[in-house]
């Protein structure tokens, strides 16, 4: 079952080991800027996921015909086309969210996570693997966005899913949870510096978990080669 193993590896790489948000630290600009609420994070995460899957598939499909010298502009064009589609869709069906994401929606074009995957993986692998890789990387990125959004929204406003109806429709108004009541908002968590600090803690937590995992693994005994030091001058 070679193919299965390959896909398992793609899942593991995208969600944890090579996570674009936590490990590659790509696409930090939207990651830090718009994750002030879960709704924003979810909206941007879904948009990025969609663009990533489509661009990986397309790049992989045309990889035989793209000359090496001009590959980057072509990738950017492909990504830009999909971003425009997503932007138009969001403008039509989730206008409130479209306004609150602002400039960061078109800026997905320059998201290094997407062009990085196109360059590093999709342009060298068949369509099936490339689209699956896009899906996993996108989910990994969205999960980091969601975690950041959750922490920052709870710290900053004491709520969860505030404004979810902008993305999901009017039924989502019931999703809003008031975790605790503040007299005043904790602005640092909502502003970008708070995102940097929370992001630092997330990366630290990921590294701590990795350390724990390696410690738990059975150690392979290394054979010690003992040498007798012969040194007549020493006393």
């Amino acid at each position: 079952m070679k193919i299965n193993d390959e896909f398992k590896e793609i899942i593991w790489q995208g969600l944890w080991k090579n996570n674009p948000g936590l490990v590659q630290l790509l696409g930090l600009c939207p990651l830090l800027a718009v994750t002030s609420t879960i709704t924003n994070a979810l909206g941007l995460g879904l948009a990025t996921l969609l663009v990533l899957v489509c661009s990986n598939t397309t790049v992989s499909a045309v990889r035989q015909w793209v000359p090496k010298e001009v590959r980057i502009p072509i990738f950017v064009l492909i990504i830009a086309a999909f971003v425009s589609c997503v932007q138009l869709l969001m403008n039509a069906f989730a206008h409130g969210l479209y306004q609150s994401l602002g400039i960061f929606l078109p800026l997905i074009v320059t998201n290094c996570a997407i062009i990085g995957r196109a360059e590093a993986y999709a342009s060298k692998n068949p369509i099936k693997q490339a689209s699956f890789d896009g899906l996993m990387m996108g989910i990994g990125f969205s999960l980091v966005l969601l975690t950041l959004g959750t922490i920052r929204e709870v710290l900053g406003q004491g709520t969860l899913f505030d404004g979810a109806h902008l993305l999901l429709g009017d039924w989502a108004l019931v999703l809003r949870i008031e975790v605790f009541q503040f007299d005043s908002q904790f602005l640092l968590a909502i502003l970008p510096p708070g995102a940097f600090i929370v992001m630092g803690f997330l990366i630290a937590a990921k590294n701590a978990i990795d350390d724990k995992l390696t410690q738990q693994q059975p150690k392979t005994e290394q054979q010690n080669i003992e040498r007798v030091r012969v040194n007549f001058d020493a006393q």
């Binding site: 005043s184 904790f186 602005l187 640092l188 968590a189 600090i197």
Partner: protein
């Protein structure tokens, strides 16, 4: 008998971190006394709160990091951070402001970067900036000096205001801030800034009772208190005189230049020296040996840059006082300043022409 031969240096200074920190804490006393005299017990309560929090935070982090607790906990640097933070917070701010600020200063700004000697930013000032941008309402609860207040603010009332938001008689913080004339008062710097945006000239603004006869009732004496403490530190050789002098001269020249250009819209040089946190910043914050520049030339540039930034932010920025922001910006540039002001090695021969 044989003589014990040691290599140089033969003359050691037997001062430890804790002794130096204790000296700096003593030197803040005149300023704190002036604050107590003009603004009541608030700052002393905040200093006490911040000190307790700081010791607790330092103890927890040190035990998590498996460090030697007894020596590092009582080296005085954490207490000094708490004292500086407590001095800078508005006297009537709620209790959780100083607790939260102290936690942030120790856990995130100091210990996460590796503890004393490794923090790139001044912990007290970083915590102050964090509080100021996170809780702008609570961090601008400046009260008028005691003799301009319409209420009697004794120790019990201050304590009750800090912990509950109301005095024992039930007056709220907002009511306490009301002036004898019925106006809510800010700091002299804030008043001047607001008046200038309203189109008044500096001399018209100075008729406001908050300025008193000189540069602000109470504020001038608080600054003189810190100036005295700073001179004491310089005499004791705890701090280098270069930093404060360079800072004050830079601020002096910036405000003098602006005063020559447009006297109606800029305050006098001495107003900039003796209001806000100028003296505290000059002698106690900028002289922080960890986050500042190291060489003498570097310190001159570092402090002059701080003076320029303080003036620019006070004059053109959105916040009335600027010491904390200027210090953080200078902390960021300190490694670069150090890079370009490395002193020549001793005995280096200059190239002959």
């Amino acid at each position: 008998m044989a003589f014990w031969i040691a290599s140089s240096p033969h003359n050691h200074i037997q001062s430890e971190t804790s002794a130096l920190m204790r000296l700096v804490i003593y030197a803040t006393l005149p300023g704190i006394f002036a604050q107590w005299y003009f603004f009541g017990w608030g700052n002393i309560i905040h200093i006490a709160l911040a000190s307790c929090t700081v010791l607790f935070a330092e103890f927890s982090v040190l035990s998590l990091r498996h460090k030697k607790i007894s020596s590092e906990l009582f080296d005085g640097s954490a207490i000094l951070t708490a004292v500086l933070l407590g001095i800078s917070i508005p006297a009537l701010a709620p209790w959780w402001i100083s607790v939260f600020g102290a936690l942030f200063a120790i856990v995130i700004v100091k210990q996460l970067y590796g503890g004393l000697g490794h923090n790139p930013f001044n912990p007290a000032m970083a915590a102050y900036v964090m509080l100021l941008i996170s809780f702008p309402v609570q961090m601008t609860l400046w009260q008028p000096p005691l003799n301009l207040m319409s209420f009697d603010l004794n120790f019990q009332n201050t304590l009750s205001t800090i912990f509950t938001g109301y005095t024992i008689d039930g007056f709220s913080t907002e009511q306490l801030r009301v002036h004898v004339d019925g106006f809510t008062m800010a700091t002299p710097l804030d008043t001047l800034k607001t008046d200038l945006t309203l189109g008044l000239t500096t001399s018209e603004s100075f008729k406001s009772p908050i300025f008193g006869q000189h540069f602000g009732i109470g504020w001038e004496w608080v600054n003189i208190g810190f100036l005295l403490g700073g001179i004491f530190l310089i005499i004791k050789k705890a701090i280098d005189w270069v930093t404060p002098v360079s800072f004050l001269i830079s601020l002096f020249f910036c405000s003098l230049l602006a005063f020559f250009i447009s006297p109606d819209s800029s305050a006098s040089t001495m107003f900039h020296w003796f209001s806000g946190a100028t003296m505290l910043g000059a002698f106690f914050i900028l002289t922080d040996p960890v986050s500042g520049a190291t060489s003498t030339k570097g310190r001159i540039i570092f402090a002059a840059l701080a003076g320029l930034l303080v003036y620019l932010i006070r004059k053109f920025g959105g916040y009335p006082d600027a010491i904390a922001f200027a210090v953080l910006l200078c902390n960021m540039s300190a490694p670069l300043i150090d890079q370009y002001t490395r002193p020549r090695a001793y005995g280096h021969q200059s190239e002959k022409k």
